[in-house]
């Protein structure tokens, strides 16, 4: 169970380590050791591996792109339907990029796949370019109000050059609290 957990979460964690090498940030440890250390640090709390898609909790997203090659243009449509164009960079986590630019997107569990508060809609053209959602993400998406075909969790989207021009829409607040659109009847 441990190994499959590691393998499942590896792509996202590795992409973060990849971005470190792209940006030239010094990394004291090799990628594998880095992942192991990160998880062992968390593991003292819980034997099960936490799935954290961002190693820095938003610090990386506050850094500007170092060169034009890194830039990925992103459009957020906020809760009021207003478009906001921001310059992200390769390796940015959408949730923390949104926070940097004060887009109202909540991240209650801090990108650990334990809530659904960062639910966003992805534009059709870029939806297929995203890494497939893991089973864990799909299970959480089931709880999102107004779930649609193009629903994803923002904290699971990491920018690549391929996602240039991506548009992410933040859902409007709805009053529907049942997970499948159900309206309760007395029984």
């Amino acid at each position: 169970a441990l190994l499959s957990s590691v393998v499942r979460k590896a792509p996202i964690a590795l992409s973060h380590l990849l971005r470190r090498s792209v940006t030239g940030e010094p990394s004291a440890f090799s990628p594998i050791v880095s992942i192991a250390l990160r998880w062992s640090a968390k593991g003292t709390n819980n034997r099960r591996i936490h799935s954290e898609s961002c190693l820095h909790h938003g610090e990386y997203e506050w850094k500007d792109p170092k060169s034009p090659d890194e830039i990925v243009n992103v459009t957020f449509i906020d809760k009021d339907g207003q478009p906001r164009q921001v310059k992200g960079k390769v390796g940015d986590n959408i949730l923390y990029l949104a926070h940097r630019h004060r887009i109202e997107l909540e991240g209650a569990c801090e990108a650990s796949l334990a809530c659904t508060t960062c639910h966003v809609y992805v534009d059709g053209e870029h939806l297929s370019k995203l890494q497939n959602a893991t089973e864990e993400e799909e299970d959480l998406l089931d709880l999102a109000p107004c779930l649609a075909e193009n629903s994803r969790l923002g904290c699971q989207i990491i920018l690549t050059k391929e996602l240039e021009g991506i548009t992410l829409t933040v859902p409007k607040i709805t009053r529907n609290f049942y997970v499948d659109g159900h309206v309760p009847q007395p029984h």
Binding site: A1, T44, N45, N46, R47, R48, H50, S51, E106, A108, C109, E110, S112, L113, A114, C115, T116, T117, E135, E136, E138, D139, L140, D142, L143, A144, P145, L147, I173, T174, R175, F177, Y178, V179, D180, G181, H182, Q185, H187
Partner: protein
């Protein structure tokens, strides 16, 4: 207790602790929130974010904050509790103040509190039980799941629950996420539990527990289960534990209508897949098992002649009437018995009216409201508003809705002017026997809990007695 000799200096210390992180101005909008769980904090978060001239006081009847995030979320789900970090930043910010150990209805009335605020928000959730009202519900060994969760999570009022885990079968009435949490706690290997923030008294009890079989009993069928897929999937992956589902229960749900909402469809497919896999796993010598029993309603809890201790539950077999989305369970007049040594009632939490001036709908178990508005200057948020259903996401959305209603009323001049322009703390300090706590006090307890947990390899060892919490706070005050 504070005696009169050092009463004045002690009160000065208290005021200093509260005021240091809060710059209060008379011209700002003042909002009071009763309840410091997700509903309370998310309401505060949204209000403060959208109005720069607004201050919030968040009250809780316990000396420490966070409500169900601390006392409801299971110990083995620590990531769900990460939201506490965000709430802590808010509580320590200039325009937010936590005031604990003040109980609405017991220590202070609505009429005493309201005059200090432009708006008062009731966000105190649901801490009462729904009862089955069947014979034997008062037997030893018949417990509320809510109390059981409070017990392993260290809620002071349930610290001495002392459930008897010496038998081999537990029956849980209810098939929601709380029922699943309880089942998982009963069946999770100790080696996993002992690295969590589960309370030591519960860990000891689980170490000695001989419960190896847990049934979750629901009055309707597979299409009506209230638990969600993440939690069910977690059960299927429990180490050293077998899922025992009966294929026959799923005959009617193999073919699902095309327009069935995705969440229900995915969950039902997983249920069917799990049932189909029963018997095909290699024999691992697993000592534990759990299962779902459908179409069964408890009509009585049974005990043997000598003792008032539960030995089983009598169930009536139901049939379903109506379409799947609104199916009703109807008794058939046929019965069966399920042996058990522990029975847990997990059929929903309930809100109770805490103050005579708070309107309450006993049938729906909520405070009647329109988008959170109750009456002039009075609002509600969270489970008192919607009923006790929903995860942090839904409570968050709901809290934002109430906050928007308040902001809207503020904008249109519909909020009353506080008749008392003073600080509510001045009143609280005059009430006999009241010892309000601050967020700094919580941080003291937080440090103590973490330092007690560290040598045991746990993130914290929770303080489970109110007396001990207040002692920690007073000792620190005296030293400083």
């Amino acid at each position: 207790t504070m005696n009169s000799c050092n009463g004045i200096s002690a009160r000065l210390v208290l005021v200093r602790r509260f005021v240091s992180t809060c710059t209060r101005q008379n011209t700002s909008t003042r909002v009071g929130i009763v309840g410091s769980g997700p509903a309370g904090f998310y309401t505060a978060h949204h209000l403060i974010k959208h109005n720069s001239n607004l201050h919030v006081d968040i009250f809780d009847r316990l000396p420490i904050p966070f409500g169900l995030v601390r006392y409801g979320v299971a110990p083995d789900h620590p990531d769900v509790k990460n939201v506490i970090n965000q709430f802590s930043v808010l509580a320590e910010s200039e325009r937010c103040r936590f005031i604990g150990n003040v109980s609405l209805g017991k220590d202070i009335t609505l009429a005493q509190l309201q005059p200090f605020y432009h708006a008062l928000v009731l966000a105190y959730g649901a801490d009462d039980d729904t009862f089955l009202r069947v014979p034997g519900e008062d037997l030893d060994g018949v417990l509320s799941a809510r109390a059981f969760v409070g017990w392993y999570n260290g809620l002071p009022e349930h610290a001495h629950l002392n459930p008897d885990l010496s038998g081999d079968t537990a029956v849980i009435i209810g098939q929601g996420n709380v029922a699943i949490d309880v089942a998982r706690m009963l069946l999770t290997p100790i080696s996993i539990l002992e690295t969590t923030d589960i309370c030591e008294h519960a860990l000891e009890a689980f170490r000695k527990s001989s419960v190896r079989r847990v049934w979750l009993v629901g009055r309707r069928g597979p299409l009506q289960v209230a638990f969600t897929i993440k939690e069910f999937r977690e059960m299927t992956k429990l180490p050293e534990c077998l899922a025992v589902l009966d294929r026959a229960d799923f005959e009617g749900v193999r073919e699902l209508p095309a327009d069935m909402p995705r969440p229900r469809k995915r969950l039902t497919e997983l249920l069917v897949k799990t049932a189909d896999a029963v018997g095909s796993e290699p024999a691992t010598g697993s000592r534990k098992e759990w299962g779902l029993r459908f179409l069964r309603s408890p009509v009585a809890f049974l005990c043997d002649q000598q003792r008032r201790k539960v030995s089983g539950v009598k169930l009536e077999i139901n049939k379903l009437e109506g379409d799947p989305l609104s199916a009703r369970a109807v008794g058939t007049g046929h019965f069966e018995t399920l042996d058990c040594s522990l029975a847990l009632r997990s059929i929903g939490y309930k809100t109770k009216p805490v103050d005579k001036d708070v309107p309450f709908d006993p049938k729906g178990g909520i405070i009647p409201n329109l988008n959170g508005y109750v009456s002039t200057g009075l609002y509600c948020s969270g489970w008192v508003k919607t009923g006790p259903i929903g995860v942090i996401l839904s409570t968050m959305n709901d809290a934002f809705e109430t906050a928007d209603t308040i902001l809207n009323d503020l904008q249109h001049g519909n909020l009353p002017t506080p008749s008392d322009s003073g600080d509510v703390l001045e009143l609280l300090f005059t009430l006999p026997g009241l010892h309000p706590t601050s967020f700094s006090d919580w941080k003291l307890i937080d440090q103590v809990e973490q330092s007690h947990g560290r040598p045991k390899g746990k993130p914290r060892e929770k303080v489970t007695s109110l007396e001990m919490m207040m002692n920690i706070i007073r000792t620190h005050s005296a030293q400083n």
